[in-house]
Amino acid sequence: MTNELIRLIAFLVGIIAFAAGNAAYLVWVERKVAGHIQRRIGPKEVGPYGLLQPLADGVKLMSKQLLVPDGVDPILFKVAPLMVLVPAVMSFVTIPFGEHLAARNVDLGLLMIFAFASVNVLGLLIGSWGSANKYAVMAAARVISQNIAYEIPMLLTAIALVMATNTMNLNEMVSLQAGGFWQWNLIKLTFTASPLTPIAFLIFFTTMLAETNRAPFDMAEAESELVAGSFTEYSGMGFGVFFMGEYANIVIGAALTTCLFLGGWQSPLPFLPNGVVWFLIKMYAIIFTVVWIRWTFPRTQFYALLNLSWKVLIPISLVNLIVTAGWLKVF
């Protein structure tokens, strides 16, 4: 029993280190990529190529005065950042990084991740409501309606996928996609399950963007309208933890997309050895596109965002679901 315990503790430490390291160095990636997109260099002076910049930010954020302004609901104010970070880190548990590199081989891994995904929205709401700031309350109202609107298409596309591969266990799902890249769900399912799978992939990617309040859908921190949205009253590490939570969510989203559609740790060509390297390559490619989208597109108008989901994404994912069901029924 003990080596199972040791294995779990080792995995837990690994996951937290992975989440924290990712949060720090994704900030660096974002600032460097933003810099180069905007024809400037980005952090360069702090360490070689600015690599120590996240460290400097981390040290500064930690050493800032933790301000709990009066008139604020102290419990909610303090709990909120954790409620955004902890679910994100928890849902790393079921992500299969490699062949045996999954912390817990949970049968309902996908369901658990979606359960945690909806908790972090609660964290944002509590944070904004707790900080008794008009801008934050407006941001809270937006974040709730945005996340409800975008969770439904995400679940529908996932259900269609689960129906096609009839397993909720991420490990099994990835092993089903063995063989070359034509075995990945993105391509295999278009022929075997439903021709709409590439569109389902795009819908899943957009909803993932909206779930983590990124890029064209960043309603939580609508910088130029709601000052700093939900994070207006947070200073120092409170804001730092929110930041880490946001980046952890992005990593989860990217990891999920790779496992479901792009065949997690499967190598693109059959003779190449599988391994965690492929998983990381695919994941960081998706993260790069997320960062790239953020620095090119302006923010959508709030109601256009809701219309996009209710009137466009949900019908298409429903059609995808029905087509998959019909297709599986026939063959």
């Binding site: 952090p43 460290l55 040290v59 500064k60 800032k64």
Partner: protein
């Protein structure tokens, strides 16, 4: 009585202070708080040619809670003074103030006998750390101000000081 011999301290706190100072100096997040013409030069300093991002200072945070440096860029009128004061008070503790431009230093071109509307200089109600003269000062002057502030925080200067004049 003779001086008593002190043991060397077990826990050296000075290095920790040094690490904190370097961390703070290298990620000074300024507040988007432009009053007048100097704000445009501040934006130009953040833009591609005179990139502030190299020093980790390009994250212009709109909310006072998350920034460390308040760059007072422009003229402070008497109607605006209470707002600037509250903004300063809302900033968490290790905070600094840069008075950018003559208006923020001493009222600049708008201070003359018989003026009724402006506060002559940010240091009348704010503890100013760095003064950047110029009307408006060039973006390089703002970057020099940031380097000066970094030297004030950490005590060591990043780039050799250019002997001017």
């Amino acid at each position: 009585m003779e001086t008593e011999k002190l043991q060397s301290p077990l826990v050296h706190l000075a290095p920790l202070d040094q690490v904190l100072a370097i961390g703070r100096a290298n990620s000074l997040w300024p507040m988007t708080f432009g009053l007048a013409c100097c704000a445009i030069e501040m934006m130009a300093a953040g833009a591609s040619r005179f990139d502030l991002a190299r020093f980790g200072a390009e994250v212009f945070r709109p909310s006072p809670r998350q920034c460390d440096v308040m760059i007072v860029a422009g003229t402070i009128s008497k109607k605006m003074m209470p707002a600037v004061k509250t903004l300063y008070d809302q900033m968490p503790e290790p905070k600094w103030v840069i008075a950018m431009g003559n208006c923020a230093i001493s009222g600049g071109p708008f201070s003359f006998p018989g003026q009724y509307a402006i506060v002559e200089g940010a240091d009348k109600f704010l503890p100013v750390d760095i003064y950047i003269p110029g009307c408006p000062p060039r973006p390089e002057a703002l970057i020099e101000g940031i380097l000066e502030l970094e030297e004030k925080v950490t005590g060591s200067r990043r780039w050799p000081r250019v002997a001017c004049g």
